[in-house]
Symmetry: C2
Subunit: 199 residues, 2 copies
């Protein structure tokens, strides 16, 4: 039995760095050199700690979901807040993150989903991305089905298409964020879209 040399890096910190690289370059576009240099470690350390590129990606994706995805959903259940305002806060929160200068532009999941359709991404990676892409639509649909205010506005009758309308908006802004657009132009787009589903 025995101890052994200690890890010279923080695993979560390295995972965050890897996530940033995948967020900017996608799975296939992120090379091991990109990853390990951003993580501040060499390749063997990465392989012994995370397994391989695909397993690193799976863990980085989970890290993204937990730390950069789920934080926005709290807006949807703010107490004493009208439904429209909750949704607007949620959408604005997501879109602000898509444009945040301290992170790569756009949405990690949307980037990897578009990449996955190339057919060159490993199976487990593709599956996890597909699952992650379904989280917001499912949450929104559930909200439209169950929220009392939504029900009183009859939004539960079109819960699925209402949710998909907002999911489409977020994927659209994620694409625009990757281009030369600026966040300020998108505020009226949020309002227009909320108007469109009857809010």
């Amino acid at each position: 039995m025995a101890g052994g040399r200690k890890l010279e890096f923080d695993k979560q910190q390295a995972l965050e760095a890897a996530m940033q690289v995948f967020w900017q370059k996608g799975y296939l576009g992120a090379s091991l050199s990109d990853l390990t240099s951003s993580m501040g470690i060499n390749k063997p350390s990465m392989y012994s700690t995370f397994g391989n590129k695909e397993k690193l990606f799976l863990q980085a994706t989970e890290h993204y979901i937990e730390n950069h995805g789920k934080i926005h959903v709290a807006c949807l259940s703010l107490p004493d807040t009208p439904l429209r305002e909750r949704l607007k806060k949620f959408l604005s929160s997501v879109i602000s993150a898509q444009f945040e200068s301290s992170n790569p532009k756009g949405c990690y999941v949307m980037l990897c989903m578009t990449e996955a359709a190339s057919g060159d991404m490993p199976e487990q990676a593709r599956d996890l991305i597909a699952e992650a892409a379904g989280l917001f639509p499912a949450l929104l649909e559930e909200l439209f089905q169950q929220d009392p205010e939504a029900i009183s506005l009859a939004l539960d009758k079109n819960a699925k298409s209402n949710a998909l309308t907002l999911a489409t908006l977020l994927n659209g802004t994620a694409a625009l964020a990757r281009g030369d657009y600026c966040q300020a132009d998108l505020q009226p787009v949020i309002d227009n879209t909320l108007n469109g589903i009857g809010l």
Copy 2:
């Protein structure tokens, strides 16, 4: 002076094949092996005919814009057709193309725009994609500014945000097309979005 051996392939046909590969895999994801094998030629033939990978991409992108992009805009100037119906036909036409089974899913331009933000794409390629991404928003803004029916509905007062709302929709559906979504679910999303800008 003299002739010489004839080209054994059709240049436009090869360009269409290259475009399909870029459409599926993006610029960086498309390897020369992918490209030349789909084009049915060898690498030296590609280099002598198109220059290099980037120049091939520029020509393939122009080919996409001319043959798969501009065809939709005719809907916007259909005679004796209400504005909402023209816009709905335009949006449906684009979205149908994004889901067409004979082509790669989604939108060539949107795919390459998300890829371009990685910073690993050559300059001219990035510039052309940025220019192409601005075509639909510019056309729509001009429509909202100049169409008599749009003016009578006061849609010209928010021409830019109205155009951006529809552009966001199309980028959003392009992202969803790359995932597991089906086109049928998107019809109400189009209606919702048109409702949202007051149509």
